[in-house]
């Protein structure tokens, strides 16, 4: 995506959306560059670290975004809209795969902190994989707030907007989600 780097710095989101509406593939590429991490991270968090499914979901999300961008009215931020599309696509995908077991992979995630040593990165990645694997066993309504909070850093207000519920519901789901996660990962407590 290097070819889009210069444009990424210079174009406002509004200009990019307008250009994308006019069918400009480069503008669409810049939108992809800016938001792909968000979409992929939510998908990989949702699907327990399964990279292949996360890649499929990311592809579907951006195709849906492109084909429907003419209908984006700008009432919400583009990233809020994208999170909504991502979550709906994840839920759809889960329905399709409802009888399949998810097999998380252990390949590199390309996101570790650059200042950490190789060993630290490995430990961190393994723990991150464990967390993702544990998350897949938690119902989506408790899983999603955890992914949005910790992977994406969204506030309760932002999560409420994305998930279409109240901040109180988010707080309550996070309470239950945290406890479920703690229970599933209790065995890691000493190492952790």
């Amino acid at each position: 995506m290097d070819q889009f780097a210069l444009m990424t710095e210079k174009m406002s989101e509004h200009d990019l959306i307008e250009a994308c509406r006019d069918g400009d593939r480069e503008a669409f590429g810049v939108i992809f560059s800016r938001h792909q991490k968000r979409v992929f991270s939510v998908a990989i968090g949702f699907f327990g670290g399964n990279r292949q499914t996360a890649e499929d979901v990311t592809q579907q999300v951006f195709l849906k975004l492109y084909t429907s961008i003419t209908n984006f009215r700008g009432d919400a931020k583009l990233e809020t809209w994208l999170y909504r599309i991502t979550i709906n696509t994840c839920l759809d995908e889960q329905r399709k795969k409802k009888r399949m077991a998810y097999i998380p992979d252990f390949l590199g995630l390309g996101s570790a902190d650059a200042n950490k040593t190789h060993e630290e990165k490995l430990i961190m990645r393994e723990t991150s994989d464990e967390v993702r694997r544990a998350l897949i066993e938690i119902k989506p309504k408790f899983r999603l707030p955890i992914v949005l909070k910790y992977s994406e850093g969204l506030s309760y207000q932002e999560m409420a907007e994305v998930l279409g519920c109240s901040e109180g519901t988010i707080a309550s789901r996070l309470n239950r989600g945290h406890k479920m996660l703690a229970k599933k990962l209790e065995s890691l407590k000493i190492d952790f």
Binding site: Q36, T67, S68, R95, L109, A134
Partner: protein, 377 residues
């Protein structure tokens, strides 16, 4: 006086989502209240684990795959030698020309020409994807389909029909939002194609739709109901009598007729019968006995007897059907259905039994969201 606890606020406390005063109160309370401290420690352990979740980048191949799909489906035409900066240059040039040359009448004419030139240039480079073409491209997959009242390039235009015989099968590009495959022995008509609505009519036969678009942009009329796309893939059959069968493969479809609506999610089926209207959706994995009783209830005046059998046969996945039935029966029967639903699931926060029985729209929606967990387990 009963002691105050703050268990419900622990996550918000740990995530620093409380006001400064509230944060202090909860923090102090947790120090001396063993119940809340125990809750705090458990939630904090989960939160500490969750802190390990990090953002990850999609591999480059994802973008390459997206471009390949766009190319293949003609959704987006690349614009050689054109980029945003060139557009900006064009705009700036245009403004400069207007400013300088509008001093004299002769130069004004020149500016007018330039303006025409810029507009023409822009129109020529707008990709096909964003022109809401009223002519939809048709491709024969096998055999030769017949188009009546076709446009010059053998595309479907508003008012034209496409008919396949027993040996032919065709694919239609639905403007820039997806594709429809028309099976043998089918007849479809293009009713409307605008920015806000693309509408086909399936008179008979079968089509499979794959749509990437915002909800309600694509609609297929049948003699017994309208299938409104909510972002999905589905098969739709219409028999010689005008009865239809909808089978949703991905996303949701809303079947609508005369103010009634059946929301059919992925993995579910819904029948409609001409003269009887909408059926009730059911899971594709529902037992045959359940499906038979539902058909009797929907289309053959099965009444209370069928309803009792449906309730006795219902499994958790069948709450899809039960949820729809709640708003289609008398209040007395409604209570029985709700009782069965609540044997599989609890009422979500903010939803009351009374609210459901009086068909409160918001509460019904919340209940549906809660029950969806059962439909896919």
């Amino acid at each position: 006086m009963e002691e105050m606890h703050y268990k419900e606020k622990i996550s918000a406390f740990l995530n620093r989502e409380l006001s400064a005063d509230e944060h202090r109160v909860v923090g102090e309370h947790v120090l001396y209240c063993s119940k809340c401290r125990s809750e705090h420690d458990e939630i904090k352990l989960g939160a500490d684990f969750a802190q390990n979740l990090k953002q990850a980048s999609a591999p480059d191949k994802v973008w390459k795959d997206i471009v390949a799909v766009l190319d293949k489906n003609y959704i987006l035409k690349a614009r050689p030698n054109t980029n945003l900066f060139q557009w900006k240059k064009l705009s700036l040039g245009f403004v400069s020309i207007v400013t300088v040359l509008s001093v004299t009448l002769g130069i004004y004419l020149l500016v007018y020409d330039s303006a025409q030139s810029v507009r023409t240039s822009k129109e020529q480079t707008v990709p096909v994807a964003h022109k809401r073409e009223a002519a939809w491209k048709v491709e024969n997959i096998t055999g030769k389909s017949k188009i009546t009242n076709a446009s010059e390039n053998e595309s479907l235009k508003i008012g034209s029909s496409l008919e396949t015989d027993k040996n032919s099968r065709a694919k239609i590009d639905v403007a820039d939002i997806g594709q429809v495959e028309v099976a043998p022995n089918s007849l479809v008509k293009l009713v409307n194609s605008t920015k806000s609505e693309h509408r086909l009519s399936l008179e008979r036969g079968k089509l499979s739709a794959l749509i990437f678009a915002p909800p309600r942009l694509f609609v297929v009329d049948t003699p017994s109901a309208a299938a409104v796309d909510l972002g999905c893939a589905y098969d739709l059959d219409v028999d010689e009598e005008g009865n239809s069968k909808l089978h949703v493969k991905s996303g949701y479809v809303s079947l609508e007729r005369e103010g009634l609506e059946s929301i059919v999610p992925a993995g579910a089926i819904c029948y409609t019968k001409r003269g009887h209207g909408l059926g009730t959706p059911f899971s594709e994995t529902a037992s045959h006995a359940f499906q038979n009783e539902l058909r009797k209830f929907d289309f053959h005046d099965g009444g209370r007897e069928s309803l009792i059998k449906i309730l006795n046969l219902a499994k958790p996945r069948d709450t899809l059907t039960l949820w729809h039935l709640i708003s289609r029966v008398s209040k007395e029967s409604r209570a029985g259905i709700l009782k069965k639903v609540l044997s599989f699931s609890k009422l979500p926060d903010g939803v009351t039994r009374e609210g459901i029985l009086r068909l409160d729209k918001n509460m019904l929606e919340k209940l549906r969201f809660e029950l969806e967990n059962l439909w896919y387990e």
